[in-house]
């Protein structure tokens, strides 16, 4: 890894150089909530001023740029009894992500394990993922952030460069030659000993700000032992089975596929839609048999996929601790409390 530092004003120059030839996605403010707090989202940006680099967690992850809520896997033209299939991976152009937090970068790394490095990679994901340039940025931990518990508070790979705000300057970690070459266009310096000290001090200060946490020691085993725990039923009574937790999750990738025929009968399409394991018909199979008709079993399996099944397969959790699910859940179901209740045998 190569480290550099640069004056803050240089970041605008870098943005403008990148924006001249590329589409940039970054955090923007899309409105204010009822308490006048800004609501952030990832969106395409062409003006550096509209990017909010000091943003707090976006409501929705950047998922739609690599795992769209809905996308056509193939389309068909039907003419005179014959048909022709077209496959489009829907990766139109390279995208530059300007300012992803460590949790969201780690989410991509986790998705890579399933969708990129598995026996059967998903070309629709790969085409988009391989066309990304990622600039990570440090963040201020919020009250609901438990990424530190999940080992996702820092990103070691999965980005091109990662910038940290040192007050007057940015400290940058460079991971790829693409990033190195881009940075040649702005004025950077070799960090000195004092910059390293300041970087480490900044990181230590940030680490003190984490308040939420999840005890992950032996969690996979404990989940096995507590499969029949009463607390699942209690959380299930609260669950609205609305699927919001999955939709706001940066690592939820489950989906359904539907084939539809155009009303003019001249075309058809196969469409993939992201789905949620909390929805009533997630485990419904042919004949209408439903393996998980109860809310608590569905909610439980979501936790088992994240914190048990994935751990067994990849030796790490599928949860990055971004806290979005808990923040968006109207019923207040959140990972730290659910895991604590499973470990402690009751909801606090």
């Amino acid at each position: 890894m190569i480290f550099r530092i640069f004056e803050k004003k240089e970041l605008r120059s870098l943005f403008e150089i990148l924006a001249a030839h590329n589409k940039i996605v970054g955090p923007v403010e899309i409105g204010r909530d009822k308490d006048k707090n800004p609501v952030y989202a990832f969106a395409e940006v062409s003006d550096f001023n509209s990017i909010k680099l000091n943003y707090t967690t976006t409501k929705l992850p950047a998922k739609r740029y690599f795992l769209p809520f809905q996308e056509d896997l193939s389309t068909f033209r039907i003419e005179a009894g014959n048909w022709q299939k077209t496959i489009d991976y829907n990766a139109k152009e390279p995208l530059i992500f300007f300012g992803l937090h460590a949790c969201d970068i780690n989410a991509l790394n986790k998705l890579d394990k399933v969708l990129l490095h598995s026996v059967y990679p998903t070309p629709y994901y790969a085409a988009k993922r391989k066309n990304m340039f990622i600039i990570g940025i440090d963040c201020v931990p919020q009250s609901f952030c438990f990424c530190r518990s999940m080992g996702s508070d820092t990103a070691l790979h999965g980005f091109d460069m990662f910038i940290t705000d040192l007050g007057a300057k940015y400290f940058v970690e460079i991971l790829t030659d693409t990033a190195y070459n881009f940075l040649k266009n702005i004025k950077t310096e070799e960090p000195k000993e004092k910059d390293h000290v300041l970087y480490m001090k900044t990181a230590a200060e940030r680490n003190k700000k984490f308040t939420a946490q999840v005890e992950t020691t032996d969690l996979a085993k404990i989940l096995d032992m507590e499969f029949q725990a009463d607390v699942w039923k209690q959380w299930g009574d609260k669950c609205l089975a609305c699927g919001t937790c999955s939709n706001v999750c940066p690592t939820c990738y489950c989906y359904g596929v539907e084939e539809t025929v155009n009303i003019d009968l001249k075309g058809a399409r196969k469409t993939k839609s992201l789905y949620s394991c909390n929805l009533i018909d997630f485990a419904e199979v042919a004949g209408g048999h439903n393996f998980r008709p109860e809310r608590h079993t569905r909610l439980k399996y979501r936790y088992y996929h994240k914190h048990r099944g994935f751990v067994e397969a990849f030796e790490e959790s599928l949860c990055v601790g971004c806290g979005r699910c808990g923040q968006s859940c109207l019923a207040g179901i959140n990972v730290p409390e659910v895991i604590a209740s499973v470990r402690g045998g009751k909801i606090k």
Partner: protein, 259 residues
Amino acid sequence: MKTKEPEAKTYLGVPLYRPKVAFFEFSSCEGCQLQLVNNESTLLDFLSLVEVVNFREAMTEKSDDYTIAFVEGSITRGDEVERLKKIRKNAKILVAMGSCACFGGVNQLKNRFKNFDWVKKQVYGKHPIDSGLVRAVEDVVPVDLRIYGCPIKKEEVEKIVLHVALGKSIDIPKHPVCMECKANENICLFDLGEPCLGPITRAGCDSWCPNNRAGCWGCRGPAEDANVEYMKKIMKEKGFSEQTIMERLDCFGGFKKVK
């Protein structure tokens, strides 16, 4: 009227089933039927899939020879009951179309009043009409299929009719509006301090109202496995009055069987 021989529409060389369909209206605004004649870009394709023998909004001819009856509106009068029973007898498949037909719709709000004469006087003044308790179509005759919404969504009806023609199964979403709302990347109405029934209302509308920053009123009725009890508790905790909550849940009548 003599019915025409249906022209042979095919899909991948297989001839399609072209059902004779009829549309009927009871106590309603006929807005659902109007929805059907909207969207001119697909109207001709839509109409070519079926043979319409009865459709007051679009044609003058009438016939009792039909397989599928689309019924809009709630049932409020004695003569409507008789008409509906006759339609049920003629049709092989009866489709309740729209919130009024499915649940009684906005019309059923009047059922809450004990003094019917007072209601009639308020609404009709010196020109009273014979109108009683509001009932959903299924409370009078058996219903085979429900198309939800106030109004119905044209795209959903097109898909249903297309699936009938192709012999594909008809899948109405079982999950709530929240799924579509999140996919549309709306700011949650609760974050904006507005009440919304999106978490418990059946999807299929593509979160039409929340897309326009208006909370869901539940016109499509409850999603399957809707947690109405806990939703009421959440809304109360968020500071919405009992009245606000009940107004939403009662508005279209969809929740009266689950709440």
